[in-house]
């Protein structure tokens, strides 16, 4: 926008003389990437075309097998289920269960905390409290939840004492309750994080715009949709995409809660739990590499959809 104002000559000069700074500024990132991340990541993709695992301590492979690992992944079992699609479905259901409330509630909280009108007292307290679940290690957090909802845990005791149920509810073996608990835990662990991200985003917005809107007598909703949301869009895009990436890589909570089994009947097995099954014991880099690539493709596609649809809105 401002380039139209600036003299043509200056723009041209700035393009020529500043390009090298771009390269200089991004150099450390790529240096560190090349040193530490490149080889392991490329190996992941490379390995997906190989038979490469351990039988006890004996290394089998790497032998080039072409697309065999992918074919194995997408071969239906004798009941006609394609496992990886089932686990992708599980993962997406679990993700939606936590991501939707996470973004909505976090956006609400971020607006409350930054609102001129509400002027919430005890902000520091609330902001600290909502972030606290993120500080506990996921495994410890899951341990506590397991204790709460076990068949002899307090939740079942209370429900029984209240006379609402006769026999304890087997929370970790009913599809609906397992999935709800996993989503709830993930929500609790991450909504504080998201709130802070969005809050920082709102606070970064040029404050004079809010003042101007207030003087013009805009209602809170008008301010939110006309000022906050459009300017916050880049950060919101970030929030949704990272929530998507994190969600599709959901692992520790369902792993600990269901003891790695994805009970009942593997309905809470996520893609990364599936990957982990291959990776942990037999170091099956072939199959786990192939699953990684599938996760990569699914995440990439979904991110693209999110990115495109949200940035299109932004343009409108």
């Amino acid at each position: 926008m401002q380039t139209t104002k600036a003299p043509k000559l200056k723009t041209k000069r700035s393009k020529i003389s500043y390009a090298k700074w771009g390269y200089i500024f991004i150099a450390p990132f790529f240096l560190a990437y090349a040193l530490f991340h490149f080889a392991p990541q490329m190996l992941t993709i490379y390995n997906s075309f190989f038979e490469n695992y351990r039988e006890g301590l004996t290394q089998v492979g790497p032998n080039f097998v072409g697309l065999k690992n992918y074919i194995t992944l997408f071969t239906p079992d004798k009941n006609g289920t394609i496992d990886i699609l089932k686990y992708a479905g599980n993962t997406i259901v679990l993700w939606l269960g936590c991501a939707v409330p996470q973004v909505v509630i976090s956006l609400m909280l971020a607006c409350f905390f930054t609102s001129y009108r509400l002027k919430i007292r005890g902000q520091q307290f609330f902001k600290t409290v909502i972030y606290m679940p993120n500080l506990i290690m996921a495994s410890a957090f899951s341990m506590l939840f397991y204790m709460l909802f076990s068949n002899v845990g307090p939740v079942n005791q209370l429900l029984t004492q209240a006379g609402w149920i006769d026999a304890p509810i087997d929370f970790f073996n009913i599809r609906f309750t397992v999935r709800s608990l996993i989503s709830l835990m993930n929500f609790l662990m991450w909504f504080g994080n998201t709130t802070i991200l969005l809050m920082a985003g709102i606070m970064g917005i040029d404050q004079s715009l809010f003042e101007a809107a207030n003087i013009d007598g805009a209602t809170s909703l008008q301010v939110f949709f006309k000022v906050t949301l459009p300017l916050l869009m880049p950060i919101l895009v970030y929030t949704v995409i990272t929530a998507l990436i994190g969600g599709l890589q959901m692992f520790d909570v369902p792993q600990v809660l269901t003891n790695g089994l994805g009970t009942p009947n593997r309905s809470s097995t996520t893609l990364v739990m599936y990957l982990n099954n291959y990776l942990k014991t037999s170091k099956n880099y072939g199959m786990s590499g192939a699953i990684s690539v599938v996760i990569f493709i699914i995440t990439g596609l979904l991110s693209l959809v999110v990115f495109k649809s949200l940035t299109k809105q932004e343009e409108n």
Partner: protein
């Protein structure tokens, strides 16, 4: 006039009502969040045998005893572990945040040929699942003899796509290029502009990412467990796992919960300290002048 005051009364009622609702929601959510900490504190005050009996709603009298036992456990050195974890987490957080901001600024502020492809590349590597490459990374460290060193835990943080992505999105929403142009007109060098003018404007984003990267590094177990074996280099999560792996004559769940609780305190302090910097940004207009 009359209508106006009725309106403002209505507005005041609405404001009070929404305040009540907001506080109710905040209190409800806070209870949900604090409940797990309440359980943690209670469990940290119970003996191992008592903990095997399941949940208890009220604290028991063994808090100090567990604290003493955990502190004096010969297999772990809590202050040392905290120091080690702090060094690693702080260094990772600082490197990660600074260089991500630098990279993001490089892509945000400059026009160059490979700009678009670079951005897409970083976005693509952000999407690659970590699990498998973590295993490859461990093998790489063994090959390069980088075990028993903090460097492989700290330096990879320089290339942190997620932090980068946040920084560039944040710049998109708050960093007008006029400011950079203005600095250039004033004769400011590019690094000077970044460090003295751009970074201060990113303070809230930097604080946020310092917190997140610090917490993530502080709670990281798998890589440090495989790369560090000297007792004096071990980090907090390794020590907690070690307490949990103790043999039956020494196993004490009370001690485990106590250490989990202790391990949260430093991160909580870091959070409280850094979150003060998540404040309303300077208005762009004032800097421009």
């Amino acid at each position: 006039m009359k209508k106006n005051s009725a309106d403002s009364r209505k507005a005041r009622v609405m404001l009070t009502l929404s305040r009540v609702l907001v506080y109710a929601l905040l209190i409800f959510i806070s209870i949900l969040c604090l409940f797990s900490f309440y359980m943690l504190i209670i469990n940290a005050s119970r003996t191992n045998a008592d903990l095997q009996g399941g949940f208890k709603a009220l604290p028991q009298g063994h808090f100090l005893e567990n604290l003493k036992n955990a502190w004096n456990d010969s297999s772990i050195n809590i202050p040392r572990g905290m120091l080690n974890s702090f060094v690693i987490a702080a260094a990772t957080a600082i490197l990660s945040t600074y260089f991500s901001a630098l990279t993001a600024y490089g892509l945000h502020a400059y026009q160059f040929k490979l700009k678009r492809i670079t951005f897409l590349f970083i976005m693509a590597v952000m999407v690659i699942p970590k699990q498998v490459s973590a295993a490859g990374f461990v093998q790489l460290c063994y090959k390069l003899k980088l075990t028993n060193s903090y460097l492989p835990l700290i330096l990879p943080g320089i290339a942190a796509p997620v932090v980068f992505f946040y920084m560039i999105q944040y710049m998109k929403s708050v960093l007008p290029m006029e400011i950079v142009e203005a600095a250039r007109v004033d004769g400011s060098g590019e690094f000077f502009t970044f460090n003295r003018i751009v970074l201060p404007m990113l303070k809230p984003a930097i604080s946020v990412q310092l917190i997140f990267t610090f917490v993530e590094s502080w709670n990281n177990y798998f890589l440090p467990a495989l790369l560090l074996d000297k007792a004096e280099m071990k980090t907090v999560p390794i020590m907690i796992a070690q307490l949990r792996a103790a043999d039956y004559s020494k196993f004490d769940l009370g001690k485990v919960y106590m250490f989990i609780l202790l391990a949260i305190l430093p991160v909580l302090l870091v959070y409280i300290f850094l979150s003060r910097y998540i404040v309303k940004g300077v208005t762009a207009g004032s800097v421009k002048g």
